[in-house]
C-alpha cells in the first residue's frame, strides 16, 4: 500500500476556473466566496493532516437558498462539490481537490429554535455540537452525542459522519438523536426530512442521509432531540493488572443487566500520556483502566456503583477511585477526551476506529499490540469498551516517510483484524479517504454496488464528495 490515492483531477473543470468563479460570484455575496490561494489554504485538509489538496474555490453560504443556488450551479457546470463543517474529520472526509468547490457551512451557525416542552432544537448545520448543549444547559437539558471534538465540530459534520462519543452506550449515536434535516440536493431542491415528530413518513431517508459523508446532499439545518440531564453523574476509575481482566469485567457488567452511561478503556501507555497532560488522578501502576460512569440520584448511583464494584472485585480489580466532586469528574473526563490531543504532544499518530464484537475485545487488543510491534511501532489504546469501538493510536514520526508508511500499513492490518473478528472498519470516524480502499474487506461487490446505486439516486454523476467512501476502481458510471 502506498499513499492514499485521489481520483485524477478533472482538467476540463480547471480549464473553466475563471468562468466558474465568476458564476459563483454572481450568486454569492462578496464575502461568501474565497478564491485566493491564502484563503483557500485554510480548507485544504481536515484532521487527517497528512493529506492536503487545495480546492478550486470555497463558498460560504449564509442560507439554505444560497446553498441551493451553489449546488444547482455546480451541477449545471459539472463541478465537484465537497461539503465541510469544522473540518475535524479524522478520516479525511472533508479533504477537497483542485477540481472541487468546498461548501463551508461556517456562516450558518444560528440556533433557530429551542422547544423544551417538545424537547427539540432546530439549528443551522454550522452550529457546534457543544453549543447546542450549552444553550439548554441552564434548563437542565443536553444534546447527547458527545464526540471528543465537540467544542469545534459542527452538527452538520456530525450528521454527515453519524458521530458517536463516549456516552452513546446509553444515549446512542447521532442518528438516534436526530429528528429531522433540511437537505439541499444536487438539483438545488430544498427538502425537509422528518421534523419535531419522533417518526417521519415514507422511507427512512433520514437514516440514509445520516452517515452518508456528504455524498447525497448538503445538510443545512437539523432538528435534534434534547434530553433532560440526569440528577447527577459519577465516573469511577477501575485499574486492572491485565487487559483480559478489564475486558472480562466489561462483559460481566453487561451480562449482569447493567448498562452504565459510559465505559471507557485505556491501556498503560494511554493512561500515562493522558495523566501527564490532564493530571486527572489516573492510576499509573496498572495495565488497563476502565472509566465507568453512572447517572441518577445519589442513592441510585451508590447502589449501581456497588453492583459494578462487586463485579470488578470478582475480576481482580487493583484500584478503584470514585469521583468525589464535580471538579474531579470533570478532570477524569478531561483526561479521556484529551487523549488524542495529549498523544499528539508526545508523537504523531494515526487513530484507527474499528469496532469488534465486545466478546472479542481481549483478542483484538492482544493482536493489535502484536501487529504494531511487528512494524516496530508503539500503540496506545483508548476506546469505548461498552460498544467495542476501538481507538488504537499508532505512534510514528510524520517527518519519516518510511515510518508513515509503516503506520498506515499497521493501521490497515488492525482494521482487517477488526473485520476478521466480526466487526467493522469504522465505528464513528467514517470511511473518508482513509478506509475507502479497505471497503472490499467488509463488503461484497453486490453490497457495494447496491450502496453505489443508492448513491446514484442522489448524485448520478459522482459530483458530491466524489473521492470518498467507495474504492476508486469499480465505480458504476
Amino acid at each position: 500500500m502506498s499513499q492514499i490515492a485521489f481520483p485524477p483531477v478533472d482538467a476540463s473543470i480547471l480549464a473553466r476556473r475563471d468562468a466558474i468563479l465568476s458564476g459563483l460570484a454572481a450568486i454569492l455575496p462578496a464575502d461568501g466566496l474565497i478564491a485566493d490561494v491564502a484563503g483557500r489554504r485554510a480548507f485544504e485538509t481536515d484532521a487527517l493532516t497528512a493529506y492536503r489538496r487545495l480546492p478550486l474555490a470555497v463558498a460560504l453560504p449564509r442560507s439554505s437558498e444560497e446553498v441551493a443556488r451553489v449546488m444547482k450551479f455546480c451541477r449545471d457546470a459539472n463541478v465537484n462539490v465537497v461539503p465541510r463543517g469544522a473540518g475535524t474529520s479524522l478520516s479525511g472526509a472533508a479533504i477537497p481537490q483542485e477540481d472541487a468547490i468546498v461548501i463551508g457551512l461556517a456562516k450558518m451557525s444560528r440556533i433557530l429554535e429551542i422547544n423544551l416542552a417538545d424537547r427539540y432544537a432546530r439549528v443551522e448545520a454550522g452550529v457546534t455540537n457543544l453549543a447546542i448543549s450549552e444553550a439548554v444547559a441552564p434548563d437542565g437539558f443536553f444534546y447527547a452525542p458527545d464526540p471528543s471534538s465537540q467544542l469545534a465540530c459542527t452538527i452538520g459534520g456530525n450528521i454527515a459522519m453519524n458521530s458517536g462519543g463516549a456516552h452513546c452506550l446509553k444515549y446512542g449515536v447521532t442518528i438516534n438523536n436526530l429528528l429531522g434535516v433540511r437537505l439541499v440536493t444536487l438539483e438545488g431542491e430544498i427538502v425537509d426530512l422528518g421534523g419535531p415528530a419522533l417518526d417521519a413518513g415514507g422511507l427512512d431517508l433520514l437514516g440514509l442521509i445520516c452517515g452518508s459523508e456528504g455524498q447525497l446532499g448538503v445538510v443545512t439545518e437539523a432538528t435534534v432531540r434534547l434530553l433532560r440531564a440526569a440528577e447527577g453523574a459519577r465516573p469511577v476509575l477501575f485499574g486492572f493488572a491485565s487487559a483480559e481482566d478489564a475486558g472480562q469485567c466489561v462483559a460481566a457488567i453487561i451480562g449482569a443487566g447493567i448498562v452504565p452511561v459510559a465505559m471507557e478503556y485505556m491501556d498503560r501507555l494511554a493512561i500515562e500520556i493522558c495523566e501527564n497532560y490532564a493530571h486527572a488522578g489516573y492510576p499509573l501502576d496498572v495495565e488497563a483502566m476502565l472509566i465507568v460512569e453512572v447517572e441518577g440520584g445519589d442513592d441510585e448511583m451508590a447502589a449501581e456503583l456497588a453492583k459494578i464494584a462487586a463485579i470488578a472485585k470478582a475480576h481482580r480489580v487493583q484500584t478503584i477511585r470514585e469521583s468525589m466532586s464535580a471538579m474531579e469528574s470533570a478532570q477524569i473526563w478531561k483526561g479521556r477526551k484529551s487523549a488524542f490531543g495529549a498523544t499528539g504532544r508526545v508523537a504523531d499518530y494515526i487513530c484507527m476506529d474499528g469496532t469488534v464484537p465486545t466478546g472479542r475485545l481481549p483478542e483484538a487488543l492482544r493482536r493489535t499490540g502484536e501487529i504494531c510491534a511487528s512494524y516496530g511501532l508503539r500503540v496506545a489504546n483508548v476506546f469505548h469498551a461498552g460498544d467495542g469501538n476501538m481507538h488504537p493510536l499508532i505512534l510514528y514520526d510524520v517527518n519519516d516517510p518510511v515510518q508513515q508508511q509503516k503506520a498506515e500499513d499497521a493501521g490497515s492490518d488492525v482494521l482487517k483484524l477488526c473485520v476478521e473478528l466480526g466487526g467493522a472498519l469504522t465505528g464513528e470516524h467514517g470511511v473518508g479517504i482513509e478506509k475507502r480502499d479497505l471497503m472490499r474487506r467488509q463488503f461484497s461487490e453486490a453490497d457495494l454496488a447496491q450502496q453505489m446505486r443508492v448513491r446514484a439516486a442522489f448524485d448520478p454523476q459522482w459530483r458530491l464528495n466524489p473521492a470518498k467512501v467507495f474504492p476508486l476502481d469499480g465505480r458504476a458510471a
Binding site: L116, A117, R119, Y120, F141, N162, G164, C168, L169, G172, I175, T185, G195, P196, A197, L198, D199, A200, G201, G202, L203, D204, L205, G207, L208, C210, G211, S212, Q215, R228, A251, I254, G257, V259, G296, D299, E300, A303, T355, P357, T358, G359, G386, D387, G388, N389, G423, A424, L425, E428, K435, Q442, A446, D447, Q450, Q451, V454, A456, A457, V469
Partner: protein, 397 residues
C-alpha cells in the same frame, strides 16, 4: 413460472435469490408474506405471487454478554422473545402486536417487525425498531444477496441501508436476516397514575414528567371509558427495584399539583402498557378506521381538537407525540385528518380501513414532489422492475 395460489417458500437465501431473479425475468410481482399479522398495514396487495419467509426461520446467534441477537426473517417473534427472556434480555423498542387491531391470527415474525418498524411506548426512551437494528441481509429486486451493517453496536462503514429498509414495508427487497442490539429486561417497573385530566392537562403533566431527570420510559393518556369511567394519565419508570421506587416517588411529588398519588406495579402496570402498545383501547368497534398520528407532543391535543366530531375515539402515547385515533372509514373523514394535521406538522398513517379505501387514499403521509422523486430513485436502485410489494407504500411505486 406461473402465478400460483400456493406461496413460494424458499428454504434459504440462495433459493430465495433464484426465485426473485426468475420473477424479475418473467415480470411477476411478488408479495412478501411473513406471519400475516400486519398484512392490513399499507395499501392492499395488488395481486401477484406470494413469497413466504416461513422456512427462512431460526435464531442465528444470541450473544447475551454482547447484547446482540441475529435471527432469520421468518422466525416467530415469540421464539426470539423467549430466547431473550431466558437471559433476562429484551428487544428495547417494545414492538406493537397488530393482532388486536386486525383481529388476526398468525404469529408475528422478525421480518414483519422490521418491515413495519414496529415500535411501542418505549420508543420515547429506547428508540424505534430502526434504532436497535444494527444489521440485515436481504435479496434485492435484481435477485442479489446484499448485507448492510453487521453485528456491532457502532458501525458507520458505508451507506446505512439498514434503517432505510426498516419501515420500507418490504418494497426494497426480501429481508432474510436481521441483527438487533438488546437491553437487559428491567428488574422492576412502576406506573404513576393521574386521574381526571383533560387532554391539554394530561399532555402538560406528561411534558413535565418527560422533562424531568427521572427517566420516564412510557407516557400515555387514556380518555374516559377506556377501562375506567374517568380519564387516566400514565407515567412509567423501569430499572432496578430501588431506583424504580425512588423515581416513582419523585414523579408523584413532581406531579402532585396534577393529582398524582399512587403507582401501579407488576402485572397491573405491565398489562396496561401491553394494551397501550397494541392500541387495544380503540380496536373496537371493528368497522372504524384507525389512524396512527406522529407529531410534536404538545400539538397532540390541538390536533384532536381540530378534528372535532371526526375524532370518534383517541388516546395518546409518547407523551402526546403519538395519537391513536378512530374515525369513520370514509373519504371525508380521511380528508379531515389530513387537513387537521397539515398546519401542525407531523404525519398520519391509516393503519386500519377497508381495502377499497386504502387502495384509493394515501395510507401514508403524501410525499412532496422532491421526496417522491428521491423515493422513486431509491426504490429503483434496489428493485428496478418493481418486483417487491408493488404499490404497498404509494401507488405506482
Amino acid at each position: 413460472m406461473n402465478v400460483v395460489d400456493r406461496p413460494y417458500a424458499p428454504a434459504d437465501e440462495t433459493e430465495a435469490a433464484e426465485i426473485v431473479g426468475a420473477a424479475r425475468k418473467d415480470r411477476i410481482k411478488l408479495d412478501v408474506v411473513g406471519g400475516g399479522t400486519r398484512a392490513g398495514l399499507g395499501r392492499p396487495r395488488e395481486g401477484g405471487a406470494r413469497l413466504a419467509t416461513a422456512r427462512l426461520a431460526g435464531i442465528v446467534f444470541h450473544e447475551p454478554a454482547e447484547m446482540t441477537l441475529r435471527a432469520r426473517a421468518g422466525t416467530p417473534l415469540s421464539v426470539v422473545e423467549a430466547a431473550l427472556a431466558a437471559h433476562g434480555q429484551m428487544l428495547p423498542f417494545e414492538p406493537i402486536d397488530h393482532r388486536a387491531l386486525y383481529a388476526g391470527a398468525g404469529e408475528p415474525t422478525i421480518g414483519g417487525l422490521v418491515a413495519t418498524n414496529a415500535s411501542g411506548p418505549r420508543r420515547i426512551s429506547a428508540g424505534a425498531a430502526r434504532d436497535s437494528l444494527i444489521g440485515l441481509r436481504l435479496v434485492n429486486g435484481r435477485g442479489e444477496c446484499v448485507q448492510s451493517g453487521g453485528r456491532v453496536m457502532k458501525n458507520v462503514t458505508g451507506l446505512d441501508l439498514v434503517k432505510l429498509n426498516c419501515g420500507a414495508h418490504g418494497t426494497l427487497g426480501l429481508l432474510t436476516e436481521a441483527t438487533f442490539k438488546l437491553l437487559p429486561k428491567p428488574q422492576s417497573e412502576a406506573t404513576v397514575v393521574i386521574r381526571r385530566l383533560d387532554d391539554e392537562r394530561a399532555v402538560a403533566a406528561m411534558t413535565r414528567a418527560l422533562g424531568s431527570p427521572f427517566g420516564v420510559s412510557g407516557a400515555a393518556a387514556l380518555g374516559p371509558g377506556m377501562g375506567r369511567e374517568f380519564s387516566r394519565t400514565f407515567l412509567r419508570v423501569e430499572g432496578f427495584a430501588e431506583s424504580v421506587d425512588y423515581r416513582a416517588e419523585r414523579l408523584i411529588a413532581l406531579l402532585a399539583d396534577f393529582g398524582a398519588k399512587h403507582a401501579l406495579r407488576g402485572e397491573e402496570s405491565q398489562s396496561l402498557w401491553r394494551a397501550a402498545r397494541d392500541a387495544e383501547f380503540i380496536a373496537e368497534p371493528r368497522e372504524r378506521a384507525i389512524w396512527r398520528v406522529s407529531l410534536a407532543p404538545t400539538k397532540g391535543p390541538k390536533f384532536v381538537a381540530r378534528l372535532g366530531a371526526n375524532a370518534l375515539a383517541h388516546f395518546y402515547d409518547w407523551g402526546g407525540g403519538l395519537v391513536w385515533l378512530a374515525s369513520e372509514p370514509s373519504d371525508a373523514a380521511a380528508a379531515a385528518v389530513r387537513a387537521a394535521l397539515a398546519p401542525l406538522g407531523g404525519h398520519a398513517t391509516l393503519v386500519r380501513a377497508p381495502d377499497a379505501l386504502r387502495a384509493r387514499l394515501d395510507v401514508f403521509e403524501p410525499l412532496s414532489p422532491a421526496l417522491a422523486r428521491l423515493t422513486r430513485g431509491v426504490k429503483a436502485s434496489f428493485d428496478p422492475d418493481g418486483v417487491f410489494n408493488f404499490g404497498r407504500m404509494a401507488a405506482g411505486m
